[in-house]
Amino acid sequence: MDSAQIEAAIRQVLVDELKLKSADVAALSVDTPLLGRGLGLDSMEVLTLTTALEERFSIQVADAELTSELFRSLSSLIALIRAKTGPPEPGPEGIE
């Protein structure tokens, strides 16, 4: 699964599980903070999102990984899921 597919799946989880408005989720940039001044998720929403992502991507996220850094943005979440689901995407020049 590539980054774009993961991003689309996360956005869908935000709508389905956290009941955010589709338009708001669509307007999110990949750099918008998910906590605090950005999306403003609270600790219960963070856990709900995490659990839904675990189910969606068949991954396990450890308590210790649930840091503010992980929820810095969609990008950081995408990176974690990519790391847990498979090898990194090849760069423009390819990675062996």
Binding site: E54, E55, Q60
Partner: protein
């Protein structure tokens, strides 16, 4: 046992070496905990705390919370547990409402205390547990004679249907009755091991985990916050026998991926309170861990009302069970008459653990207390066997993970923003049968979601900050001008 301050001395006298608390690598026996609480009580007296002084407690679950709770009780003061996530506006409000003399807290809140308590706005002083040095032998059981058994021992708050939170003064005999009844109903033993993960600042974690465990002489494993793997690890490693929490926590454990699935076979009781436990999540929890979650019903005004302890709960998962010992529940029609079995009405409760009324609110008391019963505002039914089912509520508040939020509190805050013309706050249902906070705003001038959320931040606890803000040109209203909130969800 006459007062709450007698609990630790009596339990400790029976077996001082019995383990009372385990937090990480720290284990405290009842003898040690009792000595610490009594020493802290003496320290508080030396600081000027007197019988009936109000002392707030702003700490997370842990040994310090338990020590401070019983230390304040030993000093004869009234304990005011506050949510550890409270911010400036809430802390200032409760400090004034309860005329708090001392705030027992941790250095983590030092900056918050400086903002709220400094500048002569309050007579309240902070007391940081990290700075307190336990002196063995300081304070004795005789000190608890400071305590007057008829006086309030704890102030709690009810979100209620209207206005600001109502102060509830629970007296020693209220709490002791509830504890005695609950321990007997659940058959709690000294070899039980409680998981203390529901916040002790809230009635559920406080009374049904922390206080029940201490009253019964069992062992309590407090956890500062809910972390899925940590909770599972502690249950499995420490062979926890009783977990009393909220639906969100059980639901998260049921839905999380564990590899391997932890062994919860030592759990003999899983009890959920503060919000309805959805049947599908209960079945999921049972499918994964082999245990059903029992539903419990209670309120801050009455204490624990009922719990579902039927042998095979699979046919009655949605029931909150039978009233606990000494508590009676009736179901009334709008005209105030008892309704037949299985018919819906308002649940009313009579209990020696209940308060007789709110302080200084005669009009509210006339509406909420009648013929010795507390009118809960909850709609429900009682089946032919006496099992209770909750069906809804008459009073309007938002239930977020077990915390009852008064929408008016958030509306009043947002109305202070210069760009807000009008606002209504509602709860939007989530998959855990609790709700998230939604604000619907009519703008006076240009403003965005981010600015309004930021306006709330630091003034109210994070769990009260609207998860969604919707902007409309006007609010839907009835002919009498009342906002039709059902149209906003």
């Amino acid at each position: 046992m006459k007062t709450i301050a007698d609990i630790l001395p009596e339990v400790s006298a029976r077996d001082p070496n019995q383990t009372a608390l385990v937090e990480g690598d720290t284990r405290l026996s009842y003898g040690e905990l009792c000595a610490r609480a009594q020493a802290l009580g003496r320290t508080l007296r030396e600081l000027g705390i007197e019988t009936g002084s109000r002392v707030a407690l702003l700490l997370p679950n842990g040994i310090d919370f338990v020590t401070a709770y019983f230390g304040i009780a030993a000093a004869g003061a009234i304990i005011v547990p506050l949510n550890d996530g409270y911010q400036e506006t809430e802390l200032e409000y409760f400090t004034r409402l309860c005329d708090i003399s001392l705030l027992v807290t941790s250095r983590r809140h030092e900056e918050l205390c400086r903002r709220v308590l400094a500048g002569g706005r309050s007579e309240c002083r902070p007391f940081f547990m990290e700075g307190w040095v336990f002196e063995p032998g300081k304070g004795t059981r005789a000190d608890v004679n400071w305590v007057d058994a008829e006086n309030p021992v704890m102030f709690q708050f009810s979100s209620g249907s209207t206005g600001t939170p109502k102060r509830i003064a629970r007296r020693h005999h209220n709490l002791l009755f509830e504890l005695e009844s609950f321990v007997r109903t659940l058959g709690i033993r000294t070899d039980d091991r409680f998981l203390g993960v529901a916040p002790f600042s809230h009635v559920n974690g406080l009374m049904r985990s922390m206080m029940t465990s201490m009253f019964a002489g069992a062992t309590l494993y407090p956890l500062e916050r809910f972390e899925r793997q940590r909770v599972a690890e502690v249950i499995e490693r420490e062979r926890i026998t009783i977990m009393i929490a909220v639906p969100f926590m059980f639901g998260m454990l049921a839905k999380s991926r564990f590899d391997p699935v932890p062994d919860f076979s030592t759990l003999r009781l899983c009890v959920s309170a503060s919000a309805p436990m959805p049947k599908n999540l209960n079945l999921q929890f049972h499918g994964k861990f082999g245990r059903f979650v029992r539903q419990l019903y209670g309120s801050t005004e009455t204490g624990t009302i009922s719990v579902n302890l039927t042998d095979d709960p699979s046919d009655s998962l949605e029931s909150v069970g039978l009233p606990i010992r000494g508590v009676s529940v009736d179901v009334l029609s709008d005209s105030g008459d008892s309704v037949p079995a299985d018919e819906m009405g308002e649940l009313v409760v009579r209990s020696p653990a209940a308060i007789a009324g709110y302080e200084d609110l005669p009009e509210v008391n006339r509406e909420s207390f009648r013929d010795g019963y507390f009118l809960t505002g909850d709609l429900g039914r009682k089946d032919a066997s006496g099992y209770l089912y909750l069906l809804g509520r008459k009073k309007f508040f938002i239930n977020k993970g077990g915390y009852k939020i008064n929408p008016q509190e958030i509306e009043q805050l947002l109305e202070q923003h210069p760009a807000v013309e009008e606002v209504a706050v509602v709860g939007v249902p989530t998959q855990f049968e609790d709700e998230k906070v939604k604000a619907v705003v009519v703008k006076k001038s240009d403003v965005g979601t981010e600015e309004l959320v930021e306006f709330c931040r630091g003034k109210i606890a994070d769990f009260k900050i609207p998860a969604t803000i919707e902007f409309r040109d006007s609010l839907p209203k009835s002919s009498t001008g009342k906002v039709r909130k059902k149209l906003l969800i």
